[in-house]
Amino acid sequence: MKQLFNRFHPITQLEKKRASLVAEGNLPDAIAELLSEPFPAPESKLKDLEFFVFDLETTGLDPKEGRILSIGYLLIRDMLVDISTSFHTYIQAEKYVKPEAAVINHIVPEMLSEGKLFDEAMDEMFRAMKGKVLVAHGTVIEKSFIDAYVKLRYGLPPLPLLWLDTLVIEKSLLRNKNDSGTGDYQLASVRERHNLPPYLAHNALADSIATGELFLVLAKTIYGKKPGSLNGMYKPLYT
């Protein structure tokens, strides 16, 4: 039964896509490396997985017009948010920073001039994602900017990546409580609902940490003291 179930599981479908894309070859180095490892099985224990929690700060919501200004990420291993794995970089793109965006993101052109080249930063991020489950709050933005980047830069279709979205998980938990699902799902508001301390949203890394903590909380909300599995966290995304 499990075998049969797994065959139709979205992660299994994703894995098929990954395998065939890799088999085709001709992938740029960083992306080939990113996709070199098979995805974990749906029943994998959360404790045994590595989660890549990240946040992109952008100049807008639409990748056609906007640009990525900074990238922050860190890992969750053994269900601990591990600050020692933290990474953060600005991306060289002075001319894209509008004063309005700077106010929101606390990013000023001077910061960006010291940042990495865009391609270099993206390559590094792809390599760091290898073998990890991606976690972000509201993955729509991250996903669309990554998709736009690989399309523009390499002419590739959206990459088969294993995403978990703390925003969607939160929504599904609230929906179970007969919530209309139209409430406030901003990271700070969701954290407040779960009694997490108010964190100042200073930068992409601080937001990644805030998201990582929220991820731990959601896992415990779903599983309590029991050891959770990947499937349980993934389910809200396709149901």
Partner: protein, 621 residues
Amino acid sequence: MIESLLPNILEFISHIDPFDKLPPELQKQISGVVSINYLSRGEQIDFYPDDPKRYLYIIRTGVMEQRKPNGVLRGKLGPQDLFGFTFLNPKADGEDRYSAIAIESTLLYQVPHEDLEKLLEEHPEYSEHFASQAEIRLQNAMNVVWSDNDKGIFVKKVSEVATSFPAIVTSDMTIKEVAHEMRNVIRTSTAVVKNKGRIVGLITDRDMTKRVIADGVSTDQPISEVMTKSPLTISPNDLVLNAAALMMQNNIRSLPVVSGHKVHGLLTTTHMVQKNRVQALFLIDTIKYANTVEELVALTQERQAIFEALVEGKVRPEIIGQVMAMIYDAYNRRLIHLAKQEFGEPPCKFSWIVAGSHARNEIHISSDQDSALIIDDAATDEDMAYFKLLATFVCNALGDCGFVLCPGNFMASNPKWLQKFSTWKKYYTQWITTPDSSTLLNTSVFLETRNICGEASFNEKLHQHLHKLISQNKRFLSTLVNDAVSVHPPLGIFNSLVLEKGGENSNTLNIKKYAITLVVDLARIYGISVGCTSTNTEERFKFAYKKGMMSEDAFKNITGAYRFICQLRFTHQFEAMKRGEVSSNHIDPQSFGSFERAHLKDAFRIIANLQDAAKIKFGGA
């Protein structure tokens, strides 16, 4: 630097003890290695001595309980509290094992032991803040509270203050020769007189005026005719406080600084006044010359100012207690003097004794009165009536001066405690030979007494009587122990509440009842068990340690804990005074920061451990 991007973690860590003692650079580095954990309600962290992955845990939000393997509550922790020190260096036998259970969902910042150890190896000057033993952490906490540069005059050594030198003469020299030596050779106010290398006397320029010129003694006489024989001296290692006490009690202005028969220098009141502000010396002088109760009452403000200066000057609690006791003594003696002026000279010999904390020289600003009178057995009913008048006058006047009347009425004005010598002897015999719960309170108050006016031998004889009784009645000690350990210290401070041993809460901490008295009781027990004659709490423990009755660890632990809670009480009283409130022993836990909470928990645990040890050692008979 990635750490500069971690404002939320850094901000939190840098404000809690002991991380707030670290330089910003280290705080940043620690923030950079934190692991964040989230526990749902009921989840548990277990510690095993051989666990390779160990952390120091900081509660960011939530509530946790520590429980011993047998399920007994060890502590309750809230935001900003730390745990896991013990497991950074666990005992091999796992004796100190416990579990930590989340009783609300809890967000933890975990600092890996490995990283912490590496950082502290590179910066050993901070390592004691993170010591696995509570005692070292406490000691270190005290050092933070008391900066060395800031210690008052009283804690300095005599050798640091005494800079001048007396003339040294021999006993066969004439008065004229000695005067010449003092005036023209050494230029000093004082000469130490030696005979065959031994110090036999002392002469000052004031003595020359009073005893030679005024009395018309020939200056050709040997100095031994007019010198003060067997003079008081002080050792260079003694505290200035002790020197000041000697000078005040004996009304002398200079003390030769001496070890054996070697003269190191001369300490004079001028020294102390020049070098430092010795307000207490002046206050005591003023008290001595006050002629009415009103004049004494007017000095209350000054007494408070000295207390504030001592607390603010971070003087050690023990010294503060001694200085405040000296001032108290001065009031008491002066009031007895004024009472004599009022009611006439006493009809017979008597001894005015003080008891309890006053006898132990452990006085604070709101100490109450504990006193009694021992009257000569030959006294008549009329004589006793005189003393009743005297005592009532003194106790009431002391009350007017801010020394609270004893709520338990342990005062000389109470006929029960105004008794003839033989009655006192009977009291002690009854208390020691047939101790019971109704007499134990009396016993604990009057086990420590000190004569401050009158016939000192009365009190000494009673002491001898008492010690003989105690050594003959072993059961007394175990009764004392069983009573002392019947009150438990709290487990800690949690959420602005005091967490009691059974898990209940109360909203004030009675620091006297639940901490200080417990330590004083233990000191008494240990002191008595080894025949210590000092009544001072720290000295009793020290004596017990030297006699092998307690381990060095236990001695250091309890001394550190005692100092910490005394310091806390003084600071609390000081703060209350500054706000213009009446200070009491009840402290609102809301006033505690993470520093006080963490170290109070350590101190309480140390007290509880020593209670357990005392129970095993002396109890149960």
